[in-house]
Point group: C2
Chain length 398, copies 2
């Protein structure tokens, strides 16, 4: 038999950012014949996406030349970090590169104050909040927004996920927050008594088609996302309202790609907590729970393929694995076997080059006939890992 | 926060063979922190596993020194091709390398004649067959094994999957078969009127624990595996008998790793068609159908981790994609978008460097509430791909 020319492989997908989201995108893109090209700062040499990237471009997020190098040979370009630079991406877009989501959308979402201002302007429901730029205004907002639920949360404009860059109670006297104020605005948000926190993932293509994953539920412990459930334990009207809100957000921002919005379920309805234009920790179990995961959906949206119908297939729970697991047990490392002995449990490690006690190093997922069964399995696997490492249950003092 | 030392990543997994099975193993191993090191012959430079391998050792399967290079830095070593060389692997084993499945088991299974002799010796049910080493013996066996089901199949001892290396009817006058006889024995197997063909995947660890995936069903068209279903459309007593047979096989051969056995369902019970000590095309949809796929199960067995419980989660169908898809349509390549528009459809391409009309280039999977729904979706996606490439339905003349 004669050999024809090789099959035409897909062009590469370019990604700004080399973290675990890029890593998982790369693992999803390879079976579809699309290698991943990554741009990451030099300090990120040991980044999670490194192991799955076909090409690695070192460069700062502000480095246009490095971005041009990345964009030289890709079908489309996306980002996996808020720190990607809208001006640089806009310059590439002007040069004819397909950048999704748009630099304009990133400019709105990437900073807390501009995101909140945009949400308010578009009329999306949010906790009461003030954007402040002085110590006096901070003190006033803290007083104004205190309620029966306690003092408001004070958050920096940039970064500050998972409880970092946040303060609560007398922030105007907190040296770190005062220092932050010299460089950026702060957002002061009223504490909201909420019943549950939800995440909704919506994908949208250039023609305006949308696809929404089943609504997920987040459970935070000590200000970090500890576990997540797919589907969320809410009634269908609430889930439908959440999906509808996410769709309206996607349309309002002109999304091409995926967007995740975190919502509070309160007695007064849904309130927007935060949004991101990229895959989200909550949905790392979506590839098991649904007909497709968030990374394949992202890929489809960014490359202009038909969006997948992410119908629910199996209730799934996710538990994050933090650095304390690696630092425990005398550095003996993770006892994977003890977790994998729990039925349906799978583990995904990010291969981060360095640990910190609260750094997300990986996650585990489990499935079940119900989301409660899935959660029980995932928590049992986490319990075994922590016991093997000689550290107490998550959130308890040693 | 101080940075601790990096997490201890898993050691590499060594694999002999660089095809799509190695590729999929590598994609499954990375989330568990284990990079894949691959040995493949120099002719395989464009092999599917290349894109996912952290290390690539060029060497013939007979090249002990190359194997030592591969084994220098791995937690364990396995193989993904029958052509791996038992003597070479046994030498590594003698040097203290963990090789799973064992070279002794590979020696039994890798050639058709020795596999059939071993199965007969152990009393496993098979179609009537003869191993012949001369033209006269071939002619005699063809006459003897002809039945109402037609002439017997004649197969070469080595290789010859997917209808290659096979003949049927007057093979003793077939120049290719006569030439083959000068180099190797031939196996002459009576044609068996079967209702269905099943595949069973069993994993077994060094302690003798076993885990069996749900029984799958194979459908061949023109002597190649065209599609497969998980679970098979058989009654539970038949499925139970099939699982039991696979477990007995695994025990008899002292398996550490995974084994797949193809079975015929006949009016007289199950008959063994063929067995392999590696993942199998039939189960490429198992990661969607079950709590874990065959590659993660292989990894667990080979690395000495607890075997996963592969409970069925969602009926899944698989359809293979062959080279004719790439050669059609004026070489325009695969129109992925048309397939991905079918609900639940996912595509996995192997990135092979060269096509042939009947070469397996990838597969697609679909899920459904029933296996029939899943199959209808997968076949619809295949139909669209072929129509887009301007070629007729699989198995029909152009």
């Amino acid at each position: 038999m004669s050999e024809a020319d090789g099959p035409r492989l897909g062009a590469a997908l370019g990604v700004v950012g080399g973290g675990q989201l890029g890593r998982m995108l790369g693992l999803a893109a390879r079976p579809l014949g699309h290698p991943l090209h990554v741009l990451a700062p030099p300090s990120n040499a040991g980044a999670p996406a490194r192991a799955v990237a076909a090409r690695w471009v070192e460069g700062a997020f502000s480095d246009l030349e490095a971005h041009r190098t990345l964009a030289a040979d890709v079908a489309a370009l996306t980002f996996e970090v808020e720190d990607a630079e809208p001006d640089v991406l806009a310059a590439l877009e002007a040069e004819g590169i397909a950048v999704h989501p748009s630099p304009a959308a990133l400019r709105i979402v990437r900073r807390r104050a501009s995101q909140r201002r945009w949400l308010a302007e578009k009329g999306f429901p949010m906790p009461a909040l003030r954007v402040v730029e002085s110590v006096d205004a901070l003190a006033a907002a803290e007083a104004e927004l205190a309620s029966a639920a306690g003092p408001p949360f004070v958050k920096t404009d940039r970064g500050g996920f998972d409880g970092r860059g946040q303060a609560r109670g007398k922030a105007s006297q907190d040296p770190a927050m005062r220092a932050a104020l010299e460089e950026q605005p702060l957002v002061v948000e009223a504490a909201v008594p909420f019943e549950r926190e939800l995440s909704v993932l919506v994908a949208r293509d250039a023609a305006g088609n949308v696809a929404v994953h089943p609504v997920a539920e987040n459970v935070h412990i000590q200000a970090v996302l500890h576990h997540a459930l797919l589907p969320a334990r809410v009634d269908e009207p609430t889930a439908a309202e959440a999906r509808d809100l996410a769709k309206r957000l996607a349309e309002a921002i002109g999304l091409v790609g995926i967007l995740v919005v975190e919502l509070f379920v309160t007695r007064d309805g849904l309130l927007v907590n935060e949004m991101a234009l990229r895959p989200h920790n909550t949905f790392h179990g979506a590839d098991r729970a649904c007909a497709l995961g968030q990374f394949e959906q992202q890929l489809r949206a960014v490359l202009g393929w038909p969006l997948g119908d992410p119908e629910l297939q199996r209730p799934t729970a996710l538990v994050n694995l933090f650095g304390d697991l690696w630092e425990g047990g005398g550095g003996a490392g993770l006892d994977l076997a003890t977790a994998l002995a729990v039925p349906t449990v799978q583990v995904h490690l990010y291969e981060k080059a360095a640990t910190r006690p609260r750094r997300k190093m990986g996650h585990l997922t489990a499935t079940g006939a119900t989301v409660d069964e899935a959660l029980a399995r995932a928590l049992e696997a986490e319990r075994r890992l922590r016991a093997a490492a000689g550290i107490p249950p998550f959130g308890e003092a040693p």
